[in-house]
C-alpha cells in the first residue's frame, strides 16, 4: 500500500504546483485552464484499516541437558551464549514449613546468615569478596524450600562456586551476625505491618491455614516468632536441610553442560555428602477447622484497621490446585481471564469502567501439596462497599465460564510470559529450577505450553468453581470507621477486626 500512496502524495503536490504557476504566468495570454486539482481524488488514509495479524512464529522451549554429580545431585544446564553471563540456582527442599512452633522465621534467618561469612571469610570479608567480583548473590526461603541464586559474568563462575561451596559446607554462625540480622529482620517485619499488601498477605497466611498450621505464617516469619529464634534454630535448619540429598542445581548462560559439570563437581559434588535424612518435605496437612466460612456469614472476613487510609486493601484467598495437577492449566487460563491482564474482567470493571482503583489482579499459586488463588486490589476508601459488590458479582459471573476470545487471550499471555522468561540467564535458570525442584522432567515447559494451547472453554469452566466465595477468605486493610457500614451494605455483616500480626 505504501508505494501507491507515496505516488499520490507527491502527485498532488506536483499537480497543485503546476496548476497554479501557469495560471499566474499565462493569465494575459490565454484563459485559465480548468483546475486539475478538482479531479484528483483525496489520498487514501494509510491508517484506515488495521493490518492483518501475521502468521504465528513457533516458540521452541529450550530443554535442559541433564547430568548428575557424584553425590547424586541432579544438574540441569541450559546453554545461552548470547552474553558472557551465567546464573546458578541451587535448591534444597525444606523451607519455612519446618519452623519450630513459636519460632517463625527460623529458616529465613538461617538462610540469611549463609550470606554473612563462610569458610575463612567473616561477614565483612565475604561481602567485600562477593561484591568485588560483581556477583549477584542471594539466598531466598519459601514455605517449602531454600534457594541459593548467583548471577555473574562468566569469568567469575569459579570464584562464585567456591564461595557457594563454603556457604553450604562451612557457614560461620557468628553470634554477632546472628543478633544483628535477627534485629534487622524484626525491623523489616515491623515495617511490613504498615504496608497494606504485606500486612494483608501475612494475615491471609494466618487465617487461611490457621495459626498452628505449618503454612500458617509467611516465610519471613513474624515479629514475635523471629524474636524467639535462637542460634540453635538456625544451625538446626541448616544441618537438616542443606544436604545433597534432594538438592538440585540449575545452570543457565554462556556455558556448556560439560563446563558446568566440571565446575560444580569440585565444589558441590564430591565434597558435599548426600547425608541420608528424613523426608525434608512433610506431608500436606488439612487446613485448621474454622478457617473457612462461619454459619452466619457467606465467607470469612477479617479486617486490619488502618485509620485514615486513603484506600482499602482487598486480598481474597480461594482454594486452588497443587503443582502438577492436570487441571492447573485450566485454572490458570480462567484466572488470567478474571484478573491476569490489563483487559481482564476485574481490571476492566473496577479500574477502566468504574475508576475505583489503580488496578485489580488475580493470580494462581500452585505449590507442593496445595494451591490457592488470590484476588487483590486497592480500592478508594469511599467506594469500598460498591467495589465489593461489583467484585462479588464478577466472581459469580466467572463461574459460568469464559469466552473463546478470553481463552485465546489467556493462552497468548501465558506463551508470552514464557518467552520473556527466556530472555535472561536468570529467568531461564529460575524457570527450570522451579521445574526441577518440583520433580518435573526437563521437557515440562514445552509440555505446559502444549497443555495450555490444547485447553477448551469447557475445561476452563470446570475449574471456575474455585471462585465460589463460600470457600473464600477475605482480608481487608482499611479505615474501619469509614468502611464498615459500606461493607454491611454489600452483604458483609460479620467482620472480625484483627491486629496486623
Amino acid at each position: 500500500m505504501s508505494v501507491p500512496y507515496r505516488i499520490l502524495g507527491c502527485g498532488l503536490t506536483c499537480v497543485v504546483g503546476l496548476a497554479l504557476m501557469p495560471s499566474v504566468a499565462a493569465a494575459a495570454r490565454k484563459p485559465v485552464p480548468v483546475p486539475v486539482v478538482a479531479v484528483v481524488p483525496p489520498p487514501p488514509d494509510p491508517l484506515a484499516v488495521a493490518p492483518v495479524i501475521g502468521a504465528a512464529s513457533p516458540f521452541v522451549a529450550p530443554v535442559p541437558v541433564v547430568t548428575t554429580l557424584s553425590n547424586g545431585v541432579g544438574v540441569w544446564v541450559i546453554s545461552k551464549p548470547t552474553l558472557p553471563l551465567v546464573s546458578v540456582v541451587l535448591h534444597v527442599p525444606g523451607g519455612a514449613a519446618l519452623d519450630p512452633m513459636g519460632h517463625e522465621g527460623a529458616a529465613w534467618l538461617s538462610d540469611r546468615l549463609m550470606t554473612q561469612g563462610a569458610g575463612t571469610l567473616d561477614a565483612a570479608a565475604f561481602a567485600e569478596t562477593v561484591e568485588r567480583l560483581g556477583i549477584e548473590l542471594e539466598v531466598r526461603t519459601d514455605q517449602d524450600g531454600s534457594w541459593l541464586t548467583a548471577s555473574m559474568k562468566k569469568d567469575q563462575l569459579g570464584a562464585a562456586l567456591g564461595l557457594i561451596g563454603d556457604m553450604v559446607l562451612k557457614p560461620r554462625w557468628s553470634t554477632g551476625d546472628y543478633k544483628r540480622e535477627r534485629g534487622l529482620a524484626i525491623g523489616a517485619l515491623t515495617q511490613g505491618q504498615q504496608d497494606p499488601p504485606t500486612a494483608a498477605e501475612q494475615a491471609a497466611s494466618r487465617f487461611w491455614w490457621g495459626p498452628k498450621h505449618r503454612w500458617g505464617h509467611p516465610a519471613e516469619g513474624s515479629v514475635k516468632g523471629m524474636g524467639a529464634v535462637t542460634v540453635k534454630d538456625v544451625q538446626g535448619y541448616h544441618a537438616k536441610v542443606w544436604t545433597a540429598a534432594g538438592a538440585t542445581i540449575t545452570v543457565a548462560g554462556d556455558i556448556t553442560s560439560g563446563e558446568a559439570q566440571a565446575a560444580l563437581e569440585s565444589r558441590l559434588g564430591a565434597p558435599w555428602a548426600a547425608k541420608a535424612v528424613a523426608d525434608k518435605r512433610e506431608a500436606p496437612q488439612p487446613r485448621a477447622v474454622g478457617t473457612g466460612q462461619t454459619p452466619d456469614a457467606p465467607f470469612r472476613t477479617v479486617l486490619i484497621d488502618s485509620p485514615d487510609a486513603a484506600q482499602t486493601m482487598f486480598f481474597l484467598v480461594f482454594p486452588g490446585l497443587p503443582e502438577g495437577d492436570a487441571a492447573l492449566p485450566a485454572l490458570r487460563a480462567g484466572t488470567i481471564a478474571l484478573g491476569g491482564s490489563f483487559t481482564s474482567r476485574l481490571n476492566a470493571l473496577l479500574r477502566e469502567k468504574k475508576g475505583y482503583t489503580y488496578g485489580a489482579r488475580a493470580r494462581v499459586e500452585a505449590l507442593p501439596g496445595r494451591g490457592v488463588v488470590i484476588v487483590s486490589s486497592r480500592i478508594r476508601t469511599d467506594v469500598t462497599g460498591l467495589a465489593m459488590t461489583d467484585l462479588l458479582g464478577e466472581l459469580k459471573s466467572i463461574q459460568q465460564g469464559i469466552t473463546p476470545a478470553e481463552l485465546k487471550k489467556a493462552q497468548g499471555a501465558f506463551r508470552q510470559d514464557q518467552v520473556e522468561a527466556m530472555e535472561s540467564v536468570y529467568g531461564v535458570a529460575t524457570t527450570f529450577a522451579n521445574y526441577q525442584a518440583s520433580g518435573f522432567g526437563p521437557g515440562q515447559l514445552a509440555a505446559d505450553l502444549t497443555a495450555m494451547d490444547a485447553l477448551t472453554v469447557d475445561a476452563v469452566k470446570a475449574q471456575m468453581g474455585a471462585y465460589d466465595v463460600r470457600g473464600a477468605l477475605v482480608v481487608l486493610v482499611g479505615d474501619k470507621a469509614k468502611i464498615q457500614e459500606e461493607l454491611h451494605k454489600a452483604g458483609i455483616s460479620t467482620i472480625e477486626v484483627v491486629e496486623a500480626e
Binding site: 488495521a50 501475521g54 568485588r132 560483581g134 525491623g187 515495617q191 535472561s424
Partner: protein, 458 residues
C-alpha cells in the same frame, strides 16, 4: 501541510555498538534513520526469541506542564490508551492482548515512554496503533475519558504515595529543592487539585503541541525483517504532520547553598532521613562520577554507608543513588533508623562518610568493586529486549543520538578514584543537602498536622 516527502531526510546508517571491557563479546547492531517529518527510527534485530518490542519515546514530561496543571503529562499518558476514532474504547489493549501482546507506559520529568511487547505476528498492528494515536488521539478525547482516568490517576497517587509508608516525603521534595517556576518544582504525579482542574481542552492542546513526530523516537526491536517493516513505518508514520515545537524551558537558577529542612509524620514505626543534593544533569560531566559515588556509598553490604549505619547498628537500611534528569539531577541518600536509632545519629554518620570521600579517593579494591558491579549490571540490563529499546531511546533523548552505548560505558569505566572524590567534594557536601525527615506519628491522641516544616522550605 499534509503531505511530506516519502524519502527519509537522513540516509539510513548502520551503527555497530560494541561493549567494551569484560563485555567485549556483546554487540548490539542497529539501524537508524529519520522520516521526513522528523520521527527518529531505530531498528534492532534480535532473532533469538519470537518476540518484538515497539518503544515510543516522546520528549515531554512533567517539566513541560503549565502552572496549575501538575500531574498532567502523566494523566495524559493514561489517556493515550483510551482509544481513537479508528480504534475506539479499549481497542488498543484489546487488540494487543487478543494476540498475545501487552503494553505499558511511564512518565518522568523529561519524557514519556510507551512500550508494546508481543509476538512478531503482532508487529504491524503495534506500529499501526502507535501511528494512529500519534496522529489523532486528541480528536477523540472526551470528558468521560478524562474523568475516568483522572480517577485512576488519583488512585495511583493514593496507592503509591498516600498509603505507602514513608512515601509522603517524596511529594514534598520538588518544593523543597526547586524554586517556583523551575520545570521540576512539582511532582510527576501532581496534586489532587491540579488533576481535578485538567480539562479536555488542556488534553487537546497538550497533544497538539507535544505529540508530534518531530518530538518522538521509535525503536523497533526483536524478531522482524527490516525490509518489511521499514515500508510499514513509512506508510503509517510518514504522513503525520510535523509541527514547530515550543522553545525548551529555561530553568530558573538553583541556589545550592540555600538548603531547607522538612519534618513530616507518617504511620511508621521508625524515623527516616532523606538527604537530597543538586547534581549534574543526566549524561553531563560529573553524572557518572556521582553515580559511582552512590555505588561506593550504599550499593551492597561492603559499601561505606551500609557498614557504618547498618552494621554499625544505627539504621536498618540505607540507599544512595542519582536520579538523573535533563535540567540538573538530584542525588538522594536515605536511611531508616534501627530500633532505638535516631535521625541525628544517622545524619552525623552520613556526613562523616561524605567528608571522608571528599578528602580521600576510593581504594583500588573499592574501584574494582564498583566497576565489576557496574559491568554486571550493564550487561544484565541489556538481556531484556525491552530494556535495550528503552536504552536507545533514552540515549536519543538525552544525547541526541542512540549511538551512545560505548560512550556511556566508557564514562563509567574511565572514571578515576580522584574524579569520584572530586565529584563528591563538589556535589555531595553535607551542608548542601535538602533534608526530609519522616517521624513516626504519635499513637493515641488526634494526629498533628500532616506536615510541619522546619526551616525555610522553598
Amino acid at each position: 501541510m499534509p503531505f511530506l516527502p516519502a524519502v527519509p531526510l537522513l540516509i539510513p546508517s548502520v551503527a555497530l555498538l560494541r561493549l567494551i571491557g569484560a563485555a567485549s563479546a556483546a554487540e548490539i547492531p542497529f539501524e537508524r534513520y529519520e522520516l521526513g517529518n522528523g520521527l527518529q527510527v531505530v531498528l534492532v534485530q534480535d532473532h533469538s526469541l519470537p518476540q518484538v518490542v515497539v518503544d515510543t519515546w516522546y520528549r515531554v514530561g512533567s517539566g513541560n506542564e503549565q502552572a496549575g496543571r501538575s500531574g498532567f503529562a502523566h494523566l495524559f499518558e493514561h489517556l493515550m490508551f483510551m482509544g481513537t476514532h479508528r480504534l475506539p474504547g479499549s481497542g488498543i489493549d484489546n487488540l494487543m492482548e487478543a494476540n498475545g501482546g501487552w503494553n505499558n507506559a511511564w512518565t518522568m520529568e523529561d519524557a514519556t515512554n510507551y512500550y508494546d511487547v508481543g509476538p512478531p505476528a503482532l508487529l504491524s498492528n503495534l506500529l499501526w496503533i502507535e501511528a494512529d494515536r500519534m496522529q489523532q488521539l486528541g480528536q477523540a478525547m472526551t470528558t468521560e475519558k478524562l474523568d475516568l482516568q483522572r480517577d485512576v490517576v488519583k488512585n495511583e497517587r493514593r496507592q503509591s504515595y498516600e498509603d505507602e509508608p514513608y512515601a509522603i516525603g517524596q511529594l514534598e521534595v520538588p518544593l523543597l529543592m526547586y524554586p517556583k517556576g523551575h520545570p521540576y518544582d512539582h511532582t510527576v504525579i501532581g496534586t489532587h487539585e491540579d488533576l481535578t482542574a485538567a480539562s479536555v481542552e488542556d488534553v487537546k492542546a497538550f497533544f497538539a503541541t507535544w505529540y508530534v513526530p518531530n518530538n518522538a523516537s521509535l525503536v523497533v526491536a526483536g524478531d522482524f525483517d527490516p525490509a518489511l517493516v521499514k515500508p510499514l513505518i513509512e506508510q503509517y508514520f510518514g504522513t503525520i504532520e510535523k509541527k514547530p515545537l515550543p522553545a525548551l524551558p529555561v530553568p530558573a537558577g538553583v541556589d545550592r547553598a540555600q538548603t531547607a529542612r522538612l519534618t513530616l509524620t507518617d504511620d511508621v514505626d521508625y524515623p527516616q532521613i532523606n538527604l537530597y543534593f543538586h547534581t549534574p544533569s543526566s549524561f553531563a560531566p560529573g553524572d557518572a562520577e556521582v553515580q559511582l559515588a552512590g555505588s561506593l556509598l550504599a550499593d551492597g553490604e561492603s559499601s561505606r554507608l551500609y557498614k557504618k549505619l547498618v552494621i554499625g547498628g544505627l539504621a536498618q537500611d540505607v540507599s544512595a543513588y542519582q536520579m538523573p534528569t535533563m535540567y540538573g539531577s538530584l542525588f538522594v541518600i536515605s536511611a531508616t533508623a534501627a530500633d532505638g536509632g535516631t535521625v541525628a545519629a544517622m545524619e552525623s554518620a552520613i556526613a562523616a562518610e561524605l567528608l571522608d570521600l571528599e578528602r580521600n579517593p576510593p581504594s583500588g579494591s573499592e574501584m574494582e568493586r564498583v566497576h565489576n558491579q557496574f559491568d554486571y549490571g550493564f550487561l544484565d540490563n541489556l538481556q531484556s529486549l525491552q530494556n535495550r529499546a528503552v536504552q536507545l531511546n533514552q540515549y536519543w533523548a538525552y544525547t541526541g543520538s542512540p549511538d551512545y552505548l560505548a560512550k556511556d560505558l566508557a564514562r563509567f569505566q574511565d572514571a578515576t578514584p580522584e574524579a569520584i572524590r572530586d565529584a563528591t567534594a563538589r556535589w555531595l557536601r553535607p551542608e548542601l543537602a535538602g533534608v526530609v525527615v519522616i517521624e513516626p506519628r504519635p499513637k493515641g491522641p488526634p494526629a498533628p498536622p500532616a506536615a510541619s516544616p522546619v526551616g525555610g522550605a522553598k
